[in-house]
C-alpha cells in the first residue's frame, strides 16, 4: 500500500471539515465558555480549568496530539449554539467541552441530537433538565447539577441555624430554578417556609426594587446569583442597610465572587452553602489541584472556583476516555462513548460515575464562608454528602413526578 491515498483521504477529510480518519492526526477538541457578558469571570475560570487539565496531560491523550479550538458565548442559549455550530460545522471538532451556563446546556443538549458524530461533554452548566428530561445519547455530564449541589443545605439551615422562614433571590433561568428546588425540597419537608421568591434577569444592574421588597419577617435570604450579578446585589443590599443573614447558592459564595473586592466581606462570613467543591478540603488530590492551579495562574483567583473545577473534571474525563480507547474515535466514537459511560473517574473531589442518563453521581460539600488570617474569604467544610444522585436518592419516577423546576415549582409559602 502506498502512502498517497491515505494522505489524500485525510486531506480530503480535513478539507471537507469532517472528522479526520487517520489515527495519527491530532484530536480536535472544541471548547465553549462564557467569555462575554455577566459571566465573563466565570468563563475565564472555566478555561483555566480546561487548559490546566490539557497542560498536565501534555496536550496529548491515547497517543494522539490534542488541538484545542475555543469559542465564546454570553450565557444565552443562542450564543452557545452558534459557538457549537462553528466548532462542529466549520472546525470539524471531534469532541466539544462546554458550555458553562444552565440554559446554554439545555440548548447544546438539543443541538447534540442533530450531530450524532460528535461527542459533547458538559463544561460546568448545571440545569437539572439537561440530563434529567429528554437526555441526549451523545451528551455527557461529569459535573453534578444545581439540584444535587444543594444536598444537605436545607436540613442544615433548619437544624443548625434555626432559620425557618426564607425569601429567595435568584436569576430567572433554568440553573437557579434547579438550585432553589434543591434547597427547597429538604427545607420545605423539614417545615420551612418560603413566603416570597424574587427572580431577576441575568446581567441585571439595579436590584433596589428587590432589596426593598424583601419581607422584614424572614429569618434569612437565599441568594442564587452568579458573577457580577451576585456582586451587584450584595453591594446594593448592604448599601440599603440590609442585615438578614444569607444562605448562598453554589456560585454565589464561590471564589469567583468571594475574591471580588468590596465592603461585603464581613457580612458574608458565616454564610452557609453547598456545592461540588470546598476551598479548604483536607485531601491530597484537592490540594494538588489547588497548588497546580495557583502555580499555573498566579493572576487567577485565590483558590480554583467551581467553574475551573467543572471544566477541569470534564476535560479529565475526556482525556481518560481517550487514553482508555487509545485515541480510537472510529465507528461513530462508539468505543470512546462506552468508555465515558462506564468509567470511574478520579477527580480532585473524589470519584465520579455516570448514571443511565450520562449524568454524574458525586460527593457534595456543605460549607460555610470563613475568613483566613490574611483576610481572604474561603469556604470551610462542614460536611460531605457522598454519592449524591441526580434524584437526590429518590426513585427516578417519584423525582420526575415532582415536575420540572420553575419559578413556581416547588412552592411552600
Amino acid at each position: 500500500m502506498t502512502r498517497t491515498p491515505a494522505f489524500g483521504l485525510s486531506l480530503a477529510a480535513a478539507l471537507m471539515g469532517t472528522t479526520a480518519l487517520a489515527q495519527d492526526d491530532p484530536i480536535r477538541i472544541g471548547s465553549i465558555a462564557t467569555l462575554e457578558g455577566a459571566f465573563t469571570v466565570l468563563g475565564e475560570e472555566g478555561m483555566r480549568g480546561l487548559e490546566l487539565a490539557l497542560e498536565q496531560a501534555g496536550h496529548a491523550a491515547g497517543g494522539r496530539e490534542i488541538e484545542l479550538i475555543s469559542e465564546a458565548s454570553d450565557a444565552t442559549p443562542d450564543s452557545a449554539v452558534q459557538a457549537a455550530r462553528k466548532l462542529v460545522e466549520n472546525d470539524g471538532v471531534d469532541i466539544v467541552i462546554g458550555p458553562l451556563s444552565g440554559s446554554e446546556g439545555i440548548a447544546i443538549r438539543d443541538y447534540s441530537k442533530t450531530q450524532p458524530e460528535v461527542t459533547f461533554v458538559n463544561g460546568a452548566s448545571a440545569a437539572a433538565d439537561t440530563t434529567l428530561r429528554e437526555p441526549s445519547e451523545n451528551f455527557f455530564r461529569f459535573t453534578t447539577d444545581g439540584t444535587q449541589w444543594m444536598a444537605g443545605l436545607g436540613e442544615y439551615v433548619i437544624e443548625e441555624k434555626g432559620w425557618t422562614t426564607v425569601a429567595t433571590v435568584a436569576e430567572d433561568y433554568s440553573f437557579p430554578y434547579s438550585q432553589v428546588m434543591g434547597f427547597m425540597l429538604d427545607f420545605c419537608e423539614m417545615g420551612g417556609t418560603v413566603p416570597e421568591k424574587f427572580w431577576a434577569p441575568i446581567g441585571n444592574k439595579d436590584y433596589t426594587s428587590i432589596v426593598y421588597s424583601i419581607p422584614q419577617d424572614v429569618d434569612a435570604i437565599y441568594v442564587a446569583l452568579g458573577g457580577s450579578d451576585a456582586v451587584n446585589f450584595l453591594t446594593q443590599y448592604q448599601q440599603a442597610g440590609g442585615t438578614k443573614p444569607m444562605i448562598g447558592g453554589s456560585i454565589t459564595v464561590d471564589q469567583s465572587v468571594l475574591s471580588a473586592e468590596g465592603r461585603r466581606r464581613d457580612y458574608l462570613v458565616g454564610t452557609p452553602t453547598a456545592g461540588p467543591i470546598a476551598d479548604n478540603w483536607d485531601n491530597p488530590a484537592w490540594e494538588a489541584f489547588q497548588t497546580a492551579y495557583r502555580e499555573a495562574y498566579p493572576d487567577g483567583l485565590g483558590s480554583p472556583s467551581l467553574f475551573a473545577h467543572g471544566y477541569y473534571v470534564s476535560t479529565l474525563a475526556v482525556l481518560e476516555g481517550l487514553n482508555e480507547v487509545e485515541g480510537d474515535l472510529s465507528d461513530g466514537q462508539a468505543a470512546f462513548r462506552e468508555a465515558l459511560a462506564t468509567m470511574t473517574l478520579e477527580t480532585p473531589t473524589g470519584e465520579v460515575t455516570l448514571d443511565e442518563n450520562r449524568q454524574a453521581i458525586a460527593d457534595i460539600f456543605l460549607t460555610e464562608v470563613a475568613m483566613d488570617e490574611d483576610g481572604e474569604l474561603y469556604n470551610e467544610v462542614i460536611g460531605v454528602t457522598e454519592d449524591v444522585t441526580q434524584t437526590l436518592g429518590m426513585p427516578r419516577e417519584e423525582f420526575l413526578a415532582l415536575g420540572p423546576a420553575s419559578r413556581d415549582n416547588p412552592s411552600c409559602p
Partner: protein, 326 residues
C-alpha cells in the same frame, strides 16, 4: 422600469451566488452566506426607512422576533405547546403578525423624528426583549423554544441557502424598484421636505406607516428564516445587541442603495466569525472590533462600504468634480 437593462455587476453577483453551493462548504454556505442574507434582509427594511425615509428605526429585529416566535410556537417539535402546525400556515401567520407589529411600531414612531424616533423604537425593542424574557406561559422565558426546523427539504444546507437567496433577492428587487417608483420618490420627498409634500396633498403619516409596513414584511421574512437558521429562538435573539447589530449592518453597508444592507451584513458576519481567528487575543473583544470598524467606516466614509466602493470605482478624471453629479 422593465425597459432598463440589467446591471452587469448585479448579474455577475447573482450568478456567483447561485453557483456558490458548487464550491463552498456547508459552513460557508449556511453560516456565512445564509446568515448574511438573512441579516441583510432584515437590515434592508432599515435601509428603506432610514436611507430613503429618514426614519432610523431600531424596531426591525423586534418585528423579526415577533415572526420568529410565531413560527417557533406553532411548529416546534420540542418543549412547547405541541401545536405542530404545518409550516405554510405558520409562516403566513408569522408574516401577518410581523406586519401588525411593524404597523404598531410605525403608528407610535411616525409622529416623532430624528433622535426621538430612535428613542421610541429603542424603547419598544427593549420592552419586547424584557417581555420575552419574563413571559413563560406563551414565550417560555429565558430558554425560549428549540427544535424549530423548516419542512423537508429546506432544512438541508443547499436548499436552505437557496431559500435565503430567493427571499433576499425578492426583497432586494422589490425595494430597488420601490425606491424609484412614485411611492419611494414620495418617501424621499417626505424625508427632505415633509411640509411641501403635505401641501401637495400627501398624507405624511399614512405614507410613513406604509413604509414601516414594507420594512415589516422584510423583517418578518428575515425573522422566519432566522428561526429556521438557528433552529431555535430565545430572548437573546431580540436583545439589545442584535437590535443594534441591524443598525450597524445598515450603516457600515451604506444607506444610499438597497444593496448596502447585504454588503454590510456580509462584512458583519465575516468579522463575527473570523476576527477571533485573526486576533486570538481578541476572543472576548468582538464588540470592540466591530465597534472600531463601525467608527472607522462612519468617520472615513459616511456612506459606508458602498461609498468606499464608489470612490474606488470612479474614473480618475471624475475625481473632485462632485458638482457635476448634481
Amino acid at each position: 422600469m422593465a425597459r432598463r437593462a440589467i446591471d452587469p455587476r448585479a448579474a455577475v453577483a447573482l450568478a456567483a451566488l447561485i453557483a456558490a453551493p458548487l464550491v463552498l462548504t456547508d459552513f460557508w454556505l449556511v453560516q456565512i452566506l445564509g446568515r448574511a442574507l438573512i441579516l441583510g434582509l432584515i437590515a434592508l427594511g432599515l435601509t428603506l426607512l432610514a436611507g430613503f425615509g429618514g426614519m432610523v428605526s431600531l424596531g426591525q429585529m423586534t418585528v423579526a422576533g415577533v415572526a420568529a416566535y410565531t413560527v417557533a410556537i406553532l411548529t416546534t417539535t420540542g418543549t412547547g405547546p405541541a401545536l405542530n402546525l404545518p409550516a405554510l400556515p405558520a409562516v403566513l401567520l408569522a408574516l401577518v403578525l410581523g406586519m401588525l407589529a411593524a404597523g404598531v411600531i410605525g403608528l407610535l414612531a411616525v409622529r416623532t423624528s430624528g433622535i426621538y424616533t430612535i428613542m421610541i423604537t429603542l424603547a419598544i425593542a427593549v420592552v419586547f426583549f424584557y417581555f420575552t424574557r419574563q413571559n413563560y406561559p406563551l414565550l417560555n422565558g429565558f430558554d425560549g423554544y428549540a427544535e424549530v426546523v423548516p419542512p423537508e427539504p429546506w432544512g438541508r444546507p443547499a436548499p436552505f441557502y437557496y431559500l435565503c437567496l430567493a427571499a433576499a433577492a425578492a426583497g432586494y428587487l422589490w425595494i430597488a424598484r420601490l425606491v424609484a417608483a412614485p411611492f419611494g420618490l414620495a418617501l424621499q420627498g417626505l424625508r427632505d421636505e415633509p411640509r411641501r409634500l403635505e401641501s401637495l396633498g400627501f398624507d405624511v403619516y399614512r405614507h410613513r406607516i406604509a413604509a414601516y409596513l414594507v420594512a415589516g414584511v422584510l423583517a418578518s421574512a428575515g425573522g422566519v428564516l432566522l428561526v429556521w437558521f438557528n433552529t431555535r429562538i430565545d430572548p437573546g435573539t431580540v436583545s439589545l445587541g442584535p437590535v443594534i447589530d441591524i443598525l450597524v449592518i445598515a450603516v457600515i453597508g451604506g444607506l444610499s442603495h438597497p444593496v448596502g444592507a447585504f454588503v454590510g451584513a456580509l462584512a458583519f458576519v465575516l468579522i463575527d466569525n473570523f476576527a477571533v481567528e485573526a486576533l486570538p487575543a481578541a476572543r472576548e473583544r468582538f464588540n470592540l472590533i466591530i465597534g472600531t470598524f463601525f467608527l472607522l467606516v462612519v468617520l472615513f466614509s459616511p456612506d459606508g462600504l458602498l461609498g468606499i466602493w464608489r470612490r474606488l470605482m470612479r474614473p480618475p478624471q471624475d475625481a473632485g468634480s462632485t458638482a457635476r453629479e448634481d
